[in-house]
Amino acid sequence: MTRDDSDIIAVRDLPPGRPEPTDESVSRTWYRVTSAQRPARTRTPSRILVPALAATLVAGLVVGGAVLFRPGGEPLGFGAPPSADKSSDPNLTPAPPETVAALNALAAAAAAGPPAARVAPGRYIFARHDGWAAGYEMSAGNGVQRRGGSGAAPGQAAVPSNGTLERQIREIWFDPQGMVAVSITDGKREMSADPAAGRAAFKDRGPSLFQPTPEWLATLPTDPDQLRAELREQIGEGGAWSTDHALWSTLQEVYFSADLVMTPELRAALLRSFTGLRGITSSEITVDGRRLVAVRHTERGGGNEILFDPATGSAVGRRSMSLDGSVTVSVPPGAPKLEPGVTYQATWTQKVVAGVGVR
C-alpha cells in the first residue's frame, strides 16, 4: 500500500485542477496572522496625522541648539504638516509625455526587479541615509527670518533664506509593524527616537500609508488606476497643500523605510500610477557618479524628488530644491557642488537585520 496507488492519487487530486497555493494566498494568510487581534483600522484625517517617523526625525535633527530645516518650513528629510493657510493654488499640471515614458520605463525595470524582502518577527529594517543638507541655525524666539522678511510669529513656520551645506548621515532601525523608528543615529551617536509614540499610534490606527507594514503593502491593488485612487483616498483632501503634494511627501517616507519589502508588482504599479499624478516631472541626474532618475513633484516654488535606480526601479534616495531663487546655499570645502537650488540630497540603502544596532 503506497501513496502511488490510484485511489490515493485520486483523493490527492480532488478537486481536479486545483492549483498549488499562490504567493498571494500565502501573503494574505500571513497578513491575517499578523493582523489578528488588532483593532479595526479607523481612517483618520491624514493631513493632521504626523507620522511617527517624522516626529522622531524632527527630534533627531536638533543638533546643539540648532535645527536643520529645508525651505518651505519643513524639517529636513521628512515633511511636517503644512500650515493651515492655503496660500497658493495647487499644481494641477499633468505629467508631460517624457515623464510618462520615464515612469513606464522605470516600471518595466521594477517589474523585473528584486523580490520583496521578508521581515521575520523580531527583525528590523535598517536604512542608512547618506547625503547633504543645507543647515540653518535658527532660534525659536524673535528675529527669525521668514520668507518675505517678516519675523516669525508663534506657531508660524520659520523659513530661512541662506544655509550651508552639511554632511548628513542617518541610520534608522525600523520596526516593520508600522515602520516605527526604534533607533536613530547620525552614524556615530544615538539621536532621539520615540518608538513608544509610533507604536501607540500604530496600535490605535493600524496599518496605513502613514504607518505601513509589509503585509499591508502586499494588499495594495496593483492596477495603477486603482492604486492611485487608493493612495489619494488614504491622503484625503482639504489640507493646505494639494492632495498629490501631500501624497508625494508621504511616499518619500514610505519608500525610505519600505522599498525593500515591496513586491516587484507593487513597485511597478506605483510607478505607473504616478503617471496620473498632477505636478509630476522627471529628469536624469547623477549622484556620486551614479545615474538616477529623479521624479519631482513641484508646488509653491519647491521641488521634492524621489530618486529611482533605472536598473531596478527601486527608490534609492530623495532630493529637495528651491525653484524660486529665494534660498542661497553655501558650499563649504569638501562638499559636493549640487545643482542650483538643491537644499537636500541623499541616497539610502536598506536591509533586514536581526536587531537594533546591527548594520
Binding site: R3, I8, V26
Partner: protein, 180 residues
C-alpha cells in the same frame, strides 16, 4: 511529506520561521478540503493557535508539521458543512462548460474522469469525520501513520483501521465506474 522536516530544528516560538516553512503545505491541505478563502482563515488561525500553545509542543513526540496539521484538522471541523457542501457540489457537477470537443476517445476519457470525480466526491462526503481526516492527512498531507496518530491524538491502530475503511470505500466507488 512535501516539506522535509528532519534536518532542521524548528522552534515553534519562531512564528515567522514556522510560517515560512510550513504555510504552503497547510494551505495546500486546507484548500483541498474547504477552498482557498476558508483555508487562508484556517491556516492563519492554525499558526496563531500554535504560537499560543507553543509551550505544549513536545518535540519528543514528533515534528512540528504533524502538530500543525493536527491543529488545522481540528479547526477544519468547524467548517465540516463547508467541506461536505463542496464535495456534494462536486458530486452533482456536470463537469462545467464543455471545451471544444476533441477526438471521440478524448471526450470519452474526459467523461469517465468526470464520473470518477463525482463518485469519489460523493464517497468522501459520506465518510465519517475521522475516516475523512485520516484519509486526507495520509493522501494530501502525506503524513505517516504515526504522524497522523500524533496529529489527531488517537492510537496508531485507529489510524490504520480508519484508513483501511476509508480506502476500501474509495476503491469500491472507483471500481464501480471501471466495471461499467
Amino acid at each position: 511529506m512535501t516539506t522535509p522536516t528532519s534536518p532542521v530544528a524548528i522552534d515553534p516560538a519562531d512564528l515567522a520561521g514556522v510560517f515560512d516553512r510550513y504555510a504552503r503545505d497547510l494551505l495546500r491541505y486546507c484548500t483541498r478540503r474547504v477552498g482557498e478563502q476558508v483555508a487562508e482563515d484556517v491556516v492563519a488561525e492554525t499558526f496563531l493557535v500554535a504560537y499560543e500553545q507553543r509551550d505544549r509542543y513536545d518535540a519528543s513526540r514528533g515534528e512540528v508539521l504533524p502538530w500543525l496539521y493536527g491543529i488545522a484538522t481540528n479547526l477544519l471541523r468547524r467548517h465540516r458543512r463547508t467541506e461536505v457542501r463542496g464535495l456534494r457540489l462536486l458530486a452533482r457537477a456536470d463537469g462545467g462548460p464543455r471545451a471544444a470537443e476533441g477526438p471521440a476517445q478524448r471526450a470519452t476519457d474526459r467523461v469517465d474522469a468526470e464520473r470518477a470525480v463525482r463518485r469519489l466526491s460523493a464517497v468522501l462526503a459520506r465518510l465519517p469525520r475521522r475516516q475523512r481526516d485520516v484519509l486526507m492527512l495520509y493522501a494530501v498531507a502525506e503524513l505517516e501513520y504515526a504522524e497522523i496518530a500524533s496529529a489527531l491524538g488517537i492510537p496508531l491502530g485507529s489510524v490504520q483501521s480508519a484508513l483501511h475503511r476509508a480506502r476500501a470505500k474509495v476503491r469500491a466507488a472507483l471500481a464501480e465506474g471501471d466495471a461499467r
